[in-house]
């Protein structure tokens, strides 16, 4: 883990990168990182996040600034801008069930090729997917999902990079921490090593590449 400034961290992201962003309707989303993505105008992004949030907040800011080329999410219904851009074919949107989305990311992070889920069988979601029968039941084969970068937000981070999350801000952050080549994290509180008890660490230090320093 290396402690860096937010400017330095976002400068690493090339145009057209694939980026996972933690958070659920903006809760647990690294706002400072997204503000800097907008400031540096990192565009043509492939964004993977639970939702499109709302304009002006969380990943919603990326749609405000028209930086997203492709989106994989479970829900975008509360962001009219993202909907507009989708309907105008400015962004390619892949909408997938939330439980499938998180399992695909987890598979990507855990070295699995995919998982078999009953969710979506017999619906539009099944189109173009392999169906696999196990003991008489039909499942969809959902493949692993990874990204070049994960932009995450924690409640506590220590000097080694151990992370703990608060309440409902955990959501997609821990699975994304395992599924990207480069993991960049902001934290509400940076604490000395040893302050987070071993049993309370959710994301172990070796998963974190860059922690944004207090400025």
């Amino acid at each position: 883990m290396r402690a860096v400034s937010v400017v330095e961290a976002i400068a690493m992201i090339p145009t057209g990168a694939s980026v996972m962003v933690g958070g659920f309707m903006g809760v647990g989303t690294p706002e400072r990182l997204l503000d800097e993505v907008v400031r540096q105008r990192k565009g043509e992004l492939t964004l993977i996040s639970n939702d499109a949030c709302v304009p002006g907040k969380g990943v919603g800011k990326l749609f405000d600034a028209a930086l997203v080329a492709r989106l994989t999410a479970s829900h975008i219904g509360l962001n009219p801008k993202a909907q507009e851009q989708m309907l105008a074919n400015q962004i390619a949107v892949d909408l997938i069930p939330q439980g499938t989305l998180v399992e695909r990311i987890r598979a990507g992070g855990c070295g699995l090729g995919g998982v078999l889920t009953p969710t979506g069988v017999g619906t539009l979601v099944a189109e173009g997917k392999r169906q696999i029968e196990v003991e008489g039941r039909i499942f969809l084969l959902e493949t692993a999902l990874r990204a070049q970068f994960a932009l995450l937000h924690a409640f506590l981070a220590d000097g080694l990079g151990n992370l703990a999350y608060a309440l409902t801000s955990r959501n997609f952050n821990p699975v994304m921490a395992m599924a990207a080549d480069t993991v960049i994290v902001t934290a509400e509180n940076i604490v000395p090593v040893g302050v987070i008890a071993p049993d309370h660490v959710v994301t172990p230090a070796p998963l974190v590449d860059y922690l944004i320093t207090n400025e």
């Binding site: 659920f24 309707m25 903006g26 809760v27 647990g28 639970n50 939702d51 949030c53 709302v54 999410a73 479970s74 829900h75 975008i76 219904g77 509360l78 909907q83 989708m86 309907l87 909408l95 997938i96 069930p97 939330q98 439980g99 499938t100 998180v102 399992e103 987890r106 889920t117 009953p118 969710t119 979506g120 069988v121 017999g122 619906t123 539009l124 979601v125 409640f155 999350y165 608060a166 309440l167 409902t168 801000s169 955990r170 959501n171 997609f172 952050n173 821990p174 699975v175 959710v202």
Partner: protein
């Protein structure tokens, strides 16, 4: 009593002590208001919480404690938080005893459509497909009709949420179940006749000998 209150009160009667319950946005959310205080129900919020409590008192909301719509909630003593993989492990794995969702259409085999109107409303399915596929019991809470058209239809014309049939629909006019895969009128709303329900329903309804009025 307005339609939403009626529906929420009737759905609340379906919950039992110890149940893990997931409530969708809209009418389902109102159900919490009608659960008797001695009933120990666990409410799950799919964004990562079991033990959701009422809306926080003025000044006591925390920005990192929200429901699936991003609105502030509270956590009861004994609450637990977890990541989205765990949340949907609980949902898909059959650990949610009852899920209550809104609906656009329910057909007479019990199929639900509630996530998409092609060409018009394409918000994404969020957690709905997992909830309907995985929960032990699925209850749809919705108005019986929208713009004068029955939402209980012969066959869903909108894209399905799941091929797994739901268990119960509670509307402002009726309670309908799907034993053996056929829509069956179980109860009528106070002051609504069986004939009125049948007339307002596009689906073919089986009519058992005794069809009591809802008790609320």
């Amino acid at each position: 009593m307005d339609a939403q209150t009626l529906i929420a009160r009737r759905v609340a009667k379906e919950l039992h002590s110890g149940d893990l319950v997931n409530l969708g946005i809209g009418i389902p959310t109102l159900v919490t208001n009608y659960v008797p205080p001695d009933l120990k129900v666990f409410f799950q919020s799919e964004n990562g919480l079991i033990g959701t409590g009422p809306i926080p008192e003025q000044g006591m909301a925390h920005p990192l404690l929200t429901d699936a719509g991003g609105r502030p909630i509270s956590a009861l003593p004994g609450a637990s938080t977890f990541d989205s993989a765990m949340s949907f492990g609980l949902i898909r794995g059959g650990h949610v005893d009852v899920t209550v969702l809104g609906g656009l259409q329910v057909d007479q085999q019990g199929h639900l459509a509630n996530w998409m109107i092609p060409g018009k409303m394409v918000p994404g399915m969020g957690g709905a497909m997992d909830l309907v596929s995985g929960s032990r019991r699925v209850i749809v809470a919705m108005q019986h009709a929208a713009k004068g058209k029955s939402k209980i239809v012969r066959e869903c014309t909108l894209p399905l949420t799941s091929v797994r049939p739901i268990d119960l629909v509670v509307t402002d006019m009726a309670v309908i179940a799907f034993p053996d895969g056929s829509a069956t009128l179980m109860e009528t709303a106070p002051g609504v006749s069986i004939g009125e329900v049948v007339a307002a329903t596009d689906a073919v309804l089986l009519l058992p000998d005794a069809i009591p009025e809802m008790t609320l």
